[in-house]
């Protein structure tokens, strides 16, 4: 499904602030894989997601998705295969537009926009059904501006928008980190439900080790722009948070100085 082949990205090359974000990184995902990504700050987790989404072009390496080489594709062209949810709840929706207008944009992800009405025949009913699944009461006010919603509601809506047209790949970049714990939990459960019901292929960055182990069928650990561990099905099921920390310290040859990663 996804094939990331030896990609490298250096930010600010030649400057004092030079930073190797991705270092000859390889990753292959099969259809239906749900991978959680963990790693310290600056390990390159978000950079990996941004490289796949086309936020920037890589200095070297290739990326292909569903058999298409997308290495040279700009961000908007990759959107036909990729659904995304960002860390910042403000980033995934248009706040001045209504819930149904946002969903209408989402259901046309990757398609050519025409002069047909923005909300097509039968779509209002479809949106109603989809919104009801979120269990937030949003289906009763499709004409409310998204800016009036809370962070959690917006993130749930963004999740629906990313998946309403089934993506080949779903990218989740710490999408619950900016929410309060109980809302974050709800959004995470919703994520899990959507991914398993639709059998989505998904990459989820998280800071929470327990979540990383609890969700998905694979966990990858990143350090200094590389994948230092790839924990699969059975091994993952047996693993505890302490094992994960031990593995990290062994693989990265550095102690976990990041409290945020341990908590939860």
């Amino acid at each position: 499904m996804l094939n990331v082949n030896s990609i490298t990205k250096v930010f600010d090359p030649g400057l004092v602030s030079e930073k190797v974000a991705l270092n000859r990184l390889n990753l292959t995902m099969a259809e239906g894989d749900f991978i959680t990504i963990i790693g310290g700050n600056g390990a390159g987790k978000s950079s990996l997601l941004n490289a796949i989404a086309g936020k920037f072009f890589c200095d070297a390496g290739t990326i292909s998705i569903a058999g298409n080489d997308i290495t040279a594709f700009p961000e908007f062209k990759r959107a036909q295969w990729i659904g995304r949810v960002f860390q910042d709840p403000m980033m995934g929706t248009a706040s001045n537009m209504t819930i149904e207008e946002n969903l209408s944009i989402a259901i046309r992800r990757g398609k050519n926009r025409t002069l047909n009405w923005g909300i097509g025949k039968g779509e209002k009913e479809l949106f109603y059904d989809q919104l009801r699944q979120l269990d937030l009461g949003l289906e009763e006010r499709p004409r409310a501006k998204v800016g009036q919603l809370s962070g959690g509601q917006r993130q749930a809506l963004t999740l629906l928008m990313a998946t309403i047209r089934k993506p080949k790949l779903l990218l989740l970049d710490e999408h619950t980190a900016a929410l309060d714990p109980s809302t974050g939990r709800k959004v995470l459960e919703l994520t899990n439900k959507l991914v398993s019901e639709e059998n989505l292929t998904a990459l989820m960055v998280t800071h929470n080790m327990r979540d990383a182990l609890a969700f998905g069928n694979r966990t990858i650990m990143m350090h200094e722009g590389r994948i230092i561990a790839d924990i699969r099905a059975d091994e993952k099921k047996r693993m505890e948070v302490d094992d994960l920390i031990a593995l990290f310290e062994k693989s990265s040859k550095s102690a976990l100085a990041n409290d945020r990663m341990l908590l939860g």
Binding site: G110, R113, S150
Partner: protein, 322 residues
């Protein structure tokens, strides 16, 4: 007095075309496009030159629309393809257009006195007075524009354009080329501004190389006055507010010109008769005041919250709920 207001209303209707054009970039795309100051006289110049040589005044408007759209495309190419910041792209267009406008006019100004315009033609057909003709033609033009824009902003393409002004991140993630959206928006906006120039040139029966100065501020004043007085809940309401804002602005301006102010200063009183040349200063102050309103109201709120410390804040309560 009634006549003054009547004139102000019909002028306001004509200037609303400019205001709605600026609204498209300023509010829908969230960019400040200064090419307006060159495109407005471009529209006027094209129309004046064309009519003065015996051209049809309606066809003249069409040419002004095309000219404006073309200028918008040039600004758009500078901004999207050459990555020149929008403010600078607009200034470059505006500066370049000064020379082009002089070429189009052939001299510093063209008078259209005793030359048939849309308004005089309409008067001839309908038999109404001059100010009623302005009113009718202007209202027809604005209604047509608002209806077409309302339709456009509710199409798939229109949704994408609105989302581009709202959140580039989101709309790119949804597969829309934001550069194309900026191009479309700039073309529509400047086509309307060109038409605005054409309507005003025919109304005042002349086109002048200097008539673009301050148009962006006039348009912003109309947009902001409209929003404050009439709201902006939906796209349609927003456009109608801008239209009404333009009329209110003209009424304010004409009243200010009528009134002599007495300003007490240092224990003496100064008589100030506002001259038409003072209006640009007044408009600039008005827009600066309106634009600073959000900051000022936030400060006032903060001060209130500070003095009412101890009581539960509404905002915090709403956050905790979710």
């Amino acid at each position: 007095m009634l006549e003054i207001i009547g004139n102000a209303v019909s002028l306001g209707i004509l200037w609303a075309v400019l205001a709605i054009g600026v609204y498209v970039t300023y509010r829908m795309l969230d960019i400040a496009d200064l090419s307006c100051e060159g495109v407005f006289p471009l529209g006027a110049a094209i129309t004046a030159r064309f009519i003065s040589q015996g051209g049809d005044p309606f066809l003249a408007c069409l040419l002004s629309i095309l000219g404006g759209g073309l200028a918008g495309a040039v600004t758009g190419i500078m901004h999207t393809r050459l990555k020149i910041p929008i403010l600078l792209s607009g200034i470059l267009s505006m500066t370049g257009l000064y020379s082009i406008n002089l070429r189009v006019l052939g001299k510093a100004n063209i008078s259209l006195l005793r030359i048939p315009t849309m308004y005089s033609k309409f008067q001839g057909v309908s038999g109404v007075g001059s100010s009623a003709a302005t009113f009718a033609v202007g209202l027809a033009a604005v209604t047509l524009i608002v209806v077409i824009l309302w339709w456009f902003f509710n199409t798939e393409l229109g949704y994408s354009l609105r989302a581009t002004g709202n959140n580039v991140n989101m709309i790119r993630a949804m597969g829309v080329d934001t550069d194309t959206m900026f191009m479309i928006g700039l073309i529509i906006s400047n086509a309307l501004i060109g038409l605005g120039g054409a309507l005003i040139a025919q109304k005042q029966s002349y086109a002048d190389i200097g008539m673009g100065t301050g148009t962006i501020v006039i348009a912003l004043a109309s947009v902001i006055i409209g929003e404050v007085l009439f709201g902006r809940n939906s796209v349609l309401q927003h456009m109608i507010s801008v239209f009404l804002g333009s009329i209110v602005y003209r009424i304010i301006i004409s009243l200010i010109l009528e009134i002599d102010f007495t300003v007490p200063l240092f224990g003496r009183s100064f008589e100030i008769a506002v001259e038409p040349t003072d209006l640009k200063l007044f408009t600039a102050i008005l827009v600066a005041a309106a634009l600073s309103l959000p900051v000022l109201s936030k400060r006032i709120q903060a001060r209130r919250a500070l003095s009412a410390r101890g009581e539960p804040k509404e905002e915090g309560a709403a956050d905790a709920k979710r």
